[in-house]
């Protein structure tokens, strides 16, 4: 009998995926919906003390946020990180993957480990090291700029230089992970494709454009989506390196959410920031997917 067997298979499938589904439900869906609910309340330190103080206030948190210049400052800062940080990280990752994947490179595993290492090092420890590197008087970065008669630049003390400084640190810290994704994609490109293009007269740029890039396009999409999401969610880097300063120039949306929720205990407002951030990431990702799909057609 075919039907009972299929039913048994379906039941077994649900049973086997149940633990994972339960974990997703408990640790993702419940908190997500709880945040959505919290964002519609005035949950604050008084409500923490006594839940009877909790009031449903509809979309007031959202309305307040949209009229709050500090929120817009944080939003613009995050947008800046996404706009400049994403191409920087994706470009660095892809360039590193191309170099590591080069057939004549020696000591490949060593290079792979060296370039991947920043990703697995402790963020706070490396951020402290980078603070020293960016030190105006004694930092290595200004010392090197001195060779070309530039600087010194007050990297972490100037509102204009602090964002590039943090972006450099973020790019250094995260490009290794994306490099591994690109490397996996590059290693799946058959060598014969590149060789066929060489025989067809394509140069390095031609091969990159016509053979390699189309072959790794799905990896590009994945890395770009992940990088945009991580750029929108920057928190620890500005928190450790600049504490949001100078003059709020490095406060990101997540940093703003942290301050709303855990510094000023406006948890309802903080949850509203989280929901807006989620919608923002969703919107950007959807636009990106639509653009890619249109290009593929």
């Amino acid at each position: 009998m075919i039907v009972p067997q299929r039913a048994a298979e379906t039941r077994a499938g649900w049973l086997m995926s149940a633990p994972a589904l339960a974990a997703i439900f408990l640790f993702f869906l419940v908190p997500a919906f709880a945040s959505l609910f919290l964002s519609l309340t005035d949950f604050d330190i008084y409500a923490l003390a006594d839940l009877r103080n909790l009031r449903f206030i509809g979309l007031r948190n959202y309305a307040d946020l949209l009229h709050n210049p500090l929120f817009w400052n944080a939003f613009l800062n995050s947008a800046r990180y996404v706009l400049f940080g994403t191409p920087l990280v994706v470009g660095m990752s892809f360039a590193a993957a191309l170099l590591i994947n080069h057939r004549y490179l020696r000591w490949r595993p060593v290079w792979r480990v060296i370039l991947f290492a920043p990703y697995v090092t402790t963020l706070v420890a490396t951020a402290v090291v980078w603070r020293y590197l960016f030190n105006t008087e004694y930092g290595l970065v200004n010392w090197m700029l001195g060779w070309v008669a530039l600087g010194p630049i007050d990297w972490l003390g100037s509102p204009t230089a602090s964002t590039p400084a943090i972006l450099l640190f973020v790019a250094w810290k995260t490009f290794g992970y994306n490099m591994i994704i690109f490397l996996a994609a590059l290693q799946l490109v058959p060598r014969e494709l590149d060789e066929a293009a060489r025989l067809d007269g394509a140069g390095r740029i031609g091969r990159l454009r016509h053979v390699i890039l189309p072959a790794v396009a799905p990896a590009f999409l994945l890395v770009t989506v992940l990088t945009i999401a991580s750029m929108f969610q920057l928190f620890a880097e500005p928190y450790v390196m600049t504490e949001g300063g100078p003059a709020q120039s490095t406060v990101t949306i997540l940093y703003f959410m942290y301050e709303e929720g855990f510094k000023w205990w406006n948890l309802g407002s903080g949850a509203a920031v989280a929901v807006l951030l989620f919608l923002c990431i969703c919107a950007v990702t959807l636009v990106e997917l639509l653009l890619v799909r249109r290009n593929l057609r």
Binding site: P190, E192, L193, E195, A196, A197, R198, L199, D200, G201, A202, G203, G206, H210, V211, P214, A215, A217
Partner: protein, 368 residues
């Protein structure tokens, strides 16, 4: 004039010598096939000619041009890979047009050339499909079309039929020969399949361990293998090899003693070996004769029968010699264990010296 000449080509990877002083002349317009076992260096030879691997030593000339140091795109050589290497994101039309686009040829000239080749290869109906939507045979034709559309001086083929099923392979083999007769472009074709090699080649090149063992027409190599390797490599089933010892050479006849103690008179002139030298006698399975009156009679018993339809391969164990394969025309199936009497026609014998090289130089029996 676009004959291909390879002089003293050497190539090694790490400490392993892949090509060992390979010298080769392929006449303009000929269809040369390189055949050899896996790892013999035949694909590396092709890749060095294409410019995908640099030579350690030696030179490659295409007509009067020295192309040894030229990049692949400037050699005027097209190659069809075993995997076809079609660009998966491009349509059949775009795949075939790719090389012409890289040369910045005018769009209408590219379109005309692609259409012409697509019609020639029966690809007009699928010209706007991507490789993933094609059958194995169609992909293979696209790969050939991509090579043809460039009008190169030389075609290189790296085992292009190995991914096709047996029936399709036989059809495409004929197709290859027909196309070559139309285009007359110098072609170097690499395969490990001796049927492909024997049926397609004008010039057959047998390679082993990075060296060329023998060059000639397929029938020359089959009838007069230069050494034991070529003798065993060409022919299906393999040539029977029997160890022997030279007794004496007199009047153009050499007497050879077989392991069974029997002697055999072989017509042989100019043998370098002396009395007592170890020899190897080779006899093709179809040259063993049933109940014949050949120079030597062999008593054997049937061990195994392979019925091929039009012919039958009978594996026998011969007294004092060991295992032999006997090929008969038609379908016959003696029972295992049946005693048979075979005889050897001495004019069909191949004789090899201690170093494996051929000893008999006279014309041997013509094979049908």
């Amino acid at each position: 004039m676009s004959g291909l000449r390879i002089e003293e080509a050497c190539k090694s990877f790490s400490a392993r010598q892949i090509l060992d002083r390979v010298t080769l002349d392929i006449a303009d317009g000929s269809f040369a096939v390189v055949v050899g076992p896996s790892g013999c260096g035949k694909s590396t030879l092709l890749r060095t000619i294409a410019g995908l691997e640099p030579l350690d030593q030696g030179a490659i000339h295409l007509g009067a041009r020295d192309i040894t140091r030229l990049p692949p795109g400037q050699r005027d050589i097209a190659m069809v890979f075993q995997s076809y290497a079609l660009y998966p994101h491009l349509t059949v039309r775009e795949n075939m047009a790719f090389a012409l686009r890289m040369r910045h040829e005018p769009a209408n000239a590219i379109d005309r050339a692609v259409r012409q080749v697509a019609e020639m290869l029966d690809l007009a109906d699928v010209i706007d499909r991507k490789p993933g939507q094609l059958s194995g045979g169609q992909r293979q034709r696209v790969a050939i079309g991509r090579a043809i559309v460039r009008k190169p001086a030389v075609f290189l083929f790296d085992e292009p039929l190995s991914n096709l099923d047996a029936g399709l392979r036989a059809r495409v083999r004929l197709d290859f020969v027909t196309r070559h007769q139309q285009l007359r472009t110098t072609t170097l074709y690499v395969t490990h399949d001796q049927v492909e090699a024997m049926t397609m080649a004008d010039t057959l090149i047998v390679m082993n361990q990075g060296r060329i063992e023998q060059i000639g027409t397929p029938s020359e190599l089959y009838a007069r293998p230069a050494n034991l390797f070529v003798a065993r490599f060409l022919g299906m089933p393999e040539m029977n090899l029997i160890a022997g010892t030279m007794i004496e050479t007199r009047g153009g006849i050499t007497n050879v003693m077989l392991p069974s103690g029997k002697t055999l008179a072989v017509p042989l002139t100019g043998a370098a070996s002396g009395r007592g030298a170890r020899l190897t006698l080779g006899i093709r399975p179809q040259d063993l004769i049933a109940h014949g009156n050949g120079a030597m009679r062999i008593d054997a018993s049937v061990r195994l029968v392979e019925r091929m339809g039009s012919r039958t391969n009978i594996h026998v164990v011969a007294d004092g010699i060991g295992a032999l394969v006997w090929q008969r025309q038609g379908d016959c199936a003696p029972e295992p264990g049946t005693p048979v009497q075979l005889s050897i026609d001495a004019s069909a014998l191949h004789l090899f010296g201690e170093d494996g090289s051929r000893l008999n130089t006279e014309t041997l029996k013509e094979h049908a």
